[in-house]
């Protein structure tokens, strides 16, 4: 027992102060939200479109448009672009309430906040989620799971992952939704009582990601269920997921 107490003293207090204090610092090489520079593309250049593994980019009128819902943040577009039209910031705040909101337009600066007063009223103080991995590679799952550790301590916001959909207010879904998981996902959703939420996490869940063209998978959660919150990334950094959840329940 004395050893346990000694270890406790040694390990110290590790929960971050965010959102009351500063946000955790992103690694210097972190690839966050893309920044698009309008009107800088050279004529007929499709270098970024050709380089993108998930068809996340389109070029219109000399400007690139990037779909954060498809982006796997590999920076291949940035490396391929001869005119510096695409760069990536260290901004981790990327969650959106609509699928359309994930499409970045050239010149976009800050993301709009997520306005949903109903959700704040219903779940602002207590949100229980059941996680469903439907073809996720365990990266999104792992960085969702990490929010439960003492460093992030999701419980302090009243958010908790529960074992049964019957105890949940909503689902947090990862993966492109494989054909083999479709039925289980539908049943799990049906087992959650109304009113209920669906949160899609990661490029696969948002758009099918790398697997969008596969017969074995769907093109993300929206093929199956209505989605209330979209959190981009491959996988999203825990800060991105936390930011999305806190915006959803109106805590920030």
């Amino acid at each position: 027992m004395i050893e346990i107490l000694k270890a406790r003293a040694k390990q110290g207090y590790r929960t971050m102060s965010y959102p009351n204090g500063p946000a955790p610092e992103m690694p210097t090489r972190f690839v966050g939200k893309a920044v698009l520079h309008p009107g800088t593309c050279s004529a007929d250049c499709q270098a970024c479109v050709d380089a993108c593994p998930t068809d996340a980019i389109t070029v219109k009128d000399g400007s690139p448009f990037l779909d954060l819902g498809r982006c796997v943040f590999c920076r291949k577009c940035q490396y391929a672009c001869p005119s510096g039209s695409i760069s990536f910031s260290r901004d981790f705040q990327m969650a959106e309430a609509t699928r359309e909101g994930l499409i970045l337009h050239p010149g976009d600066v800050a993301s709009a906040p997520l306005p949903n007063l109903d959700i704040k009223k219903l779940f602002g103080r207590s949100l229980k989620l059941r996680q469903v991995s439907a073809g996720g590679c365990n990266a999104c799952e792992a960085d969702t799971n990490v929010l439960g550790t003492i460093a992030w301590d999701l419980g302090r916001f009243g958010i908790q992952f529960v074992a049964s959909p019957r105890h949940a207010d909503g689902l947090l879904v990862t993966g492109p939704v494989t054909a083999n998981m479709e039925l289980a996902l539908r049943k799990t959703y049906a087992a959650v009582s109304y009113p209920k939420l669906v949160i899609a996490v990661g490029a696969c869940a948002l758009s099918g990601g790398l697997f969008a063209s596969h017969d074995e998978t769907h093109k993300g959660v929206t093929d199956i269920l209505p989605v209330d919150l979209f959190i981009p990334g491959c996988p999203p950094h825990p800060s991105t997921i936390l930011d999305g959840l806190l915006q959803l329940i109106g805590r920030i």
Binding site: P27, S133, V146, D215
Partner: protein
């Protein structure tokens, strides 16, 4: 293998030079080699017009060599499984993917409920095969007080899906059958279909927690095929990344094991420490799982002196925290009582079913690619092999802890003596002729095997991935026999296998 073609780890051989034997000869040579202590690392089919060419890759540990042989089959062939249990899942897979039946296989159930692949010799699924994932004729135990427990695919925790069917007598598990496939995304097929800009990303997501392991295995195949020599610096950085991946997952597992027996201090500390280790990988490449770090020809990000210094400092502090957190386990009699003797596998069983990685080493089997088939940095810097003896939860926990210790020392050592050179070189040209390339990497769960069959240049006619989980899930099923059903989470976590790595 008398009739097989020998090649080293990350060796290549022209497809025309892969011995093509009669089915009976292939069976004989596989069985004889396994009798001699070789291990089946891969057995898979690749269509050649209307016949299926079966390839067997064996690992001859004491020679430090691999061998490969093949045969051509149509309709059916006599199964290896009755005499060679470690072939059982490979043969089920061959049947599911190609419809070629290994006759005499005792357990020809679906592996992942994938639809049959399209090829000239294809025939439709047999009528008794369900298209609904998880719907199979589960083995049942009958008798008074016998009951059945079904768990999954959606089961407690933030975890991937799988179905577990227990046959219990009271609290005692008499039999566990594991039915997977829910995570099947069709990656192997996609690599063949559109060799191109997505391939490397597919490798990064085969099992997201093993991004470094799988991308390394893929890149080594490409580098072997193109005759590309990496710089010593790139090899060292890849080694650092692989060991960081191992440490992060192992420390997370030790914490989760503590959680499964309700020992909260270690659970809390290790969860955080795991994050600190993932952040070291993010320091390296911006992503906590090592996405975009490795590519054919080297690594995308260099470790400069500043990063090396930060990493060294943080790793030393992580090591101190980890030691204080994990030592609590070994000093607590209540923990030892719950770890020791639970979920034990004996080494004969482990050997027979072809267990790999942490689970095999915990049974006393010295299986570690880094030692037996060293590649890259491991040719120069040796990591001691951690060996357990009882094959129980305790042994698997101890092996993990020793490996954290060894990996920490290795990374610190590498950071102190990073060779100079460019972190990335341009890769050479793929050979025009069809080739076979095999690469083995010791991921944190165990042996990762990638076999590439090129058609011409960089187009693949077959790409086979064997995640260590493919070998080990059956080990978990056997470890549960005669255990309390309430010990399932503990046993499951002590193996901590990948669902998507199995289902691909």
């Amino acid at each position: 293998m008398a009739a097989g073609r020998f090649l080293p780890n990350e060796g290549i051989v022209p497809l025309s030079d892969v011995p093509q034997l009669a089915v009976s000869e292939l069976r004989q040579c596989v069985l004889a080699d396994i009798d001699d202590g070789a291990r089946l690392v891969a057995l898979f089919g690749c269509p050649s017009n209307a016949t299926l060419r079966l390839f067997a890759v064996l690992a001859h540990q004491y020679l430090g060599q691999l061998s490969v042989a093949s045969t051509k089959v149509t309709g059916s062939y006599p199964a290896l499984t009755p005499e060679c249990p470690e072939a059982h899942l490979f043969e089920r897979e061959i049947y599911e993917q190609w419809g070629v039946e290994p006759t005499g296989h005792p357990w020809l159930k679906p592996v992942r409920f994938e639809s049959r692949r399209k090829w000239e010799g294809a025939r439709p699924h047999a009528a008794n095969q369900s298209a609904v994932c998880g719907e199979i004729d589960f083995f049942q135990v009958e008798g008074e007080e016998v009951h059945e427990v079904a768990v999954g695919p959606v089961h407690a925790g933030v975890i991937e899906p799988g179905h577990f069917r227990f046959q219990c007598h009271g609290e005692t598990v008499q039999h566990l059958e594991i039915s997977l496939g829910y995570q099947h995304r069709g990656i192997e097929d996609a690599v063949v279909r559109d060799s191109g800009k997505r391939t490397l990303h597919y490798m990064e997501t085969l099992a997201g927690d093993t991004t470094i392991g799988h991308t390394t295995a893929y890149c080594r195949n490409v580098e072997a095929l193109t005759g590309t020599d990496l710089s010593a610096r790139a090899e060292a950085i890849r080694g650092i990344a692989l060991e960081l991946e191992r440490m992060a997952n192992h420390i997370g597992d030790l914490g989760a094991l503590a959680g499964d027996i309700g020992f909260l201090p270690t659970l809390s500390y290790c969860g955080r420490i795991r994050g600190d280790l993932l952040n070291l990988t993010a320091l390296l490449c911006g992503n906590r799982f090592g996405r975009s770090l490795i590519h054919p020809g080297g690594v995308n990000y260099d470790v400069d002196e500043e990063i090396a210094e930060i990493m060294r400092e943080r790793l030393q502090s992580i090591w101190r925290d980890a030691k204080s957190a994990v030592d609590l386990l070994w000093r607590s009699s209540s923990v030892l009582a719950r770890f020791e003797g639970v979920g034990a596998l004996d080494s004969d069983t482990a050997q027979a079913i072809g267990l790999v990685g942490v689970a095999a080493r915990a049974c006393g089997l010295p299986r570690d690619v880094r030692q037996s088939f060293p590649y890259g940095i491991y040719k120069k810097a040796h990591i001691p092999m951690a060996i357990g003896q009882n094959g129980d939860v305790m042994a698997r926990a101890l092996v993990r802890w020793q490996e954290i210790e060894h990996s920490t020392a290795f990374v610190l050592d590498q950071l102190d003596s990073l060779p100079s050179g460019s972190p990335s070189v341009r890769i050479g040209k793929f050979p025009q002729e069809s080739h076979l390339a095999v690469s083995l990497v010791e991921g944190w769960r165990g042996e990762i095997c990638h076999v590439a069959l090129t058609r011409q240049a960089d187009h693949y006619q077959g790409y086979k991935v064997i995640d260590p989980s493919f070998h080990n899930w059956f080990g978990l099923a056997l470890a549960l026999r005669n255990q309390q059903i309430s010990d399932f989470p503990l046993c499951n976590k002590s193996f901590n296998l990948s669902y998507c790595g199995h289902d691909l």
